[in-house]
């Protein structure tokens, strides 16, 4: 199982906007480099990308949650 961690602290979003669906849902295939969420900090949105391929398991934090650097955001099954 692989974990995707926050590179920076901020506010984590699982979707690009309230109208759009989540980037990934359980069971979705994930390729290395796929965007799985956004972190908002210092007036910018940083795309959070998977660094390995796998199958999306779930987000481990809620949409719009405050996160710290190094915190796990989502898990992938190999």
């Amino acid at each position: 199982m692989a974990e995707i961690k926050a590179p920076v602290p901020g506010t984590f979003y699982t979707q690009a906007s309230p109208e759009e669906p989540r980037y990934k849902s359980a069971g979705d295939p994930v390729a290395s480099g796929d965007v799985i969420g956004l972190i908002e900090v210092m007036k910018t949105f940083i795309e959070i990308k998977a660094d390995t391929a796998g199958t999306f398991k779930d987000y481990t934090v809620e949409n719009a949650a405050a996160v710290t650097a190094g915190q796990t955001l989502a898990e992938l099954d190999d």
Partner: protein
């Protein structure tokens, strides 16, 4: 000799102690958000205290060295690595020619300072190498560093690695972070309840906080003493006839979210400012992550000056310790 920027981090900028003297022209002070940490980093590698360093926010860069150098990382706890091997923060270590300086995940604080023996030797602008991106001033072409940049270093005499700032002399915000405030010219604009509420309420750092200003949220909206707005002031009770802002002043647009103006702030405008963060606590703001809990504490001028003196003593103690 140069440094090769392999990856820049989130927003890594070249900073020194800033360019005071131009604020009346709208050019901000600039310089490190945590000047205490920058001074310490420089001392550890044998540089003048005001030499230019990298200011790293939240996420570290990766840098390849073209020559042996001494490096120190202070401020935020952002663990440095040399070719993957972890090094201590607040302690000088060697990086050899061809090696790469990298970083692990941020553990505490917000901004780390990377001092390199010789100091960063980009061309000064208005007496400072500090980067002010909005004004395209200082740094490399007036911007934050990018992948592929080559950063020049000054010359230096070799000094020994291993010097360290003792933990008791490092300075980081507590939990909650306490920021001391000296009420200012427009304090009377707030009702007594709002004056008390500002200091009683629990605030947290808003994610949009940056080098221009630190915004806080979570406290109650401020109530203003009723008045007929003077000619030239906007209709909102938080508006004034345009005035000067100081470094550290606290404006509260609409009475809602206080903003502390920091190193890259605007110099004037039409918001009332309820007071200012005392100079001794401005460095602490540079170490606040988003969502950090904050309490504001009211002090008077005597307490503010005593705090400034105390901070100067701390620096003097570090100078003495490092000889």
């Amino acid at each position: 000799m140069t440094l090769n920027i392999i990856s820049p981090g989130l927003s890594t900028s070249i900073q020194d102690l800033g360019r005071p003297g131009y604020f009346h022209l709208g050019i901000p002070l600039g310089g490190a958000m945590d000047r205490f940490a920058l001074r310490c980093a420089n001392m550890l590698v044998g540089n003048p205290e005001g030499a230019a360093c990298f200011e790293v926010v939240f996420m570290g860069p990766e840098i390849e060295f073209e020559k042996d150098a001494l490096v120190a990382v202070t401020g935020a706890e952002l663990p440095p690595t040399v070719d993957g091997e972890e090094k201590e923060c607040w302690t000088a270590f060697e990086v050899k020619k061809g090696q790469k300086l990298g970083f692990g995940f941020l553990k505490a604080g917000a901004r780390a300072y990377i001092a390199i023996s010789g100091g960063i030797d980009t061309p000064p602008a208005l007496g400072s190498r500090s980067t002010y991106p909005i004004g395209a001033l200082g740094g490399i072409e007036g911007r934050v560093i990018g992948a592929g940049d080559k950063v020049p270093l000054g010359d230096t005499d070799a000094i020994e690695p291993g010097q360290s700032v003792p933990e008791a002399l490092r300075r980081m915000p507590g939990t909650p972070a306490q920021l001391r405030v000296l009420p200012g010219l427009y304090w009377h604009r707030l009702t007594e309840a709002a004056q008390e509420g500002f200091f009683a309420d629990d605030w947290s750092v808003a994610p949009e906080a940056d080098r221009m200003g630190y915004r806080f949220k979570g406290g109650k909206a401020l109530e203003f003493v009723e008045r007929e707005q003077p000619f030239g002031a906007g209709a909102d009770p938080s508006n004034i006839v345009d005035g000067c802002y100081s470094y550290g002043s606290i404006q509260v647009p609409g009475g809602l979210e206080p903003i502390v103006l920091h190193r890259d702030a605007v110099s004037g405008g039409g918001y009332f400012t309820l007071g200012a963060i005392i100079s001794a606590d401005m460095d602490l703001i540079g170490q606040l992550q988003p969502h950090t809990s904050v309490k504001f504490k009211k002090v008077d001028m005597d307490e503010a000056l005593a705090a400034r003196k105390e901070r100067k003593k701390m620096l003097a103690d570090i100078r003495a310790h490092l000889g």
